[in-house]
Symmetry: C2
Subunit: 302 residues, 2 copies
């Protein structure tokens, strides 16, 4: 699949997901200001990569988009909650996200904390709602996988390590490549990986196939993060929607800081190749889309 076709599908996916996000709270009897704040962050843009991955993997195993869509939206709820909480003054203290003021800048700190809490909770509600269309065994298995991946072992644990390492380096040492890879695998890799694996589980993929998906997705997450680090270093603020070079300014260890830009690009390419190799057992248009997406994940930083 060429880049153009892949981008077109990714854009159509994003539009479908956004339409769902924009209306999934319509009938919900909740405080208006909380709804406004949740929607502010849910609809602040973004590639909707995680839902797109979940949908494409499910379709590759014969699943129906409409059956998986609420789960895919739940993954975007989780991604959004993590951004809202990471931006808080007590955490990364960011004022801008995707070119717009961060949630706490608009709604205040208390509301931003609660908005994240609500997004995380409603994510599991959306996921559970899939059992109206899909076998409950699959849904509960996917929920367990997602909870494990974004909890203490995965995403939240990664943020804890990131904060600890950033503080430690502020005082003394430079993080190692191993530290960096562990932090990224947890902080951003785990949610990307579970997005893909849950697509497989929900579509009833075999254990073997789900493991192949996990191998691809693990390498994809790594490639994606290396490319993000490169982009943070080489782009300008307008392109990023946040201050360029902000990772370095905050004393965060990045791939370019450890390896230089060229070596980082090589590593990203290597990871993408590993990822694509793991997709070898599969065929068809959805597999082709996933391959094109994996290439794009690194090539955007070249």
């Amino acid at each position: 699949m060429n880049l153009e076709t892949m981008k077109k599908r990714l854009k159509a996916d994003a539009e479908e997901v956004e339409l769902f996000l924009a209306h999934c709270l319509d009938e919900v009897d909740m405080p208006e200001r909380l709804k406004e704040s949740m929607l502010y962050s849910l609809l602040a843009g973004g590639k909707r990569l995680r839902p797109a991955l979940c949908l494409a993997v499910a379709e590759m195993f014969g699943g129906r988009r409409e059956d998986v869509l609420p789960f895919a939206a739940g993954l975007e709820f989780i991604h959004t909650y993590s951004l809202v909480h990471d931006d808080l003054p007590a955490m990364d203290d960011d004022d801008l996200r995707r070119g717009k003021p961060t949630n706490h800048k608009v709604y205040g700190e208390a509301m931003a904390i609660l908005t994240g809490d609500a997004l995380l909770t409603e994510a599991f509600g959306l996921m559970a709602s899939c059992s109206t269309a899909l076998p409950a065994e699959r849904v509960v298995q996917a929920i367990a996988h997602a909870a494990f991946s974004v909890g203490a072992v995965g995403m939240v644990g990664g943020q804890v390590l990131d904060l600890a390492h950033t503080e430690a380096r502020g005082a003394a040492r430079k993080g190692s490549l191993d530290d960096l890879m562990e932090i990224h695998a947890r902080k951003t890799g785990a949610l990307i990986c579970t997005s893909c694996v849950c697509g497989a589980l929900l579509a009833g993929a075999s254990q073997n196939d789900s493991e192949a998906v996990a191998a691809w997705a693990g390498a994809l997450g790594s490639a994606f993060q290396i490319a993000d680090d490169i982009l943070d270093e080489v782009s300008d603020t307008a392109t990023l929607g946040k201050p360029a070079g902000s990772d370095a300014a905050q004393g965060k260890t990045t791939y370019p800081a450890l390896l230089g830009i060229e070596k980082s690009r090589e590593l990203a390419r290597q990871r993408a190749d590993e990822a694509i190799a793991a997709l070898a057992p599969f065929t068809g248009e959805h597999k082709d889309f996933l391959v094109a997406l994996t290439n794009y994940a690194v090539e955007r930083s070249f």
Copy 2:
């Protein structure tokens, strides 16, 4: 069932739940400091009322304690996360909880936010893990009920309303009884209610029986909260483990502030009687325990 027997069972339940809580993270590969912080708040005491309710209701419908225990522990994870986040400087800004420094006083604000996030996420993982022993349909139905009850409509929504009303009253008006009842129904009632309903769902209770349980639990939650408000007003700091009268000092509307102590006690008794009436269809030792517990919920404030 007399008070003595009920208290003995409640204590035994609490011990069983605490043993589970103390060890459920043993094998989990997560950052040590995060584990320490989660356990600090999980094991800071408390009556373990929500798990006890979930277990007793499940047993009333023929469920086995050991099958439901991980779900019940998940409810305590959720209760604990809500306390950690509510105590944050941006929220209620409390220094003490159950006589001990609050989480953020010990671990810092960033870690307290992440600790709450991890507790909430792991709660859903624990809940989903029940599908190894129970039918997946029941587990996913209970997860959906819990997520709805503690999300934007329920617990988080209640905290949003509470903050908004406290701020508004700081400036001008005194909250009405209706406002107060709505805030409490969401903020504390919804988690108590879902603890009971999930016990019924997990044990495979009929729709009718689950509705009777919901009616009882709704009135119980209300009775419980009125009694808590009274205790906050009449107890001393040593008994409460936090500054007595702190609700009033923070400008929060309470039942005693609106109705006086005597009328508040009457209302609590009335709610408890409504609750007990809803249990009429049921019989046996577990029902007797729930009745005794309902009486105790209000009598402790007399």
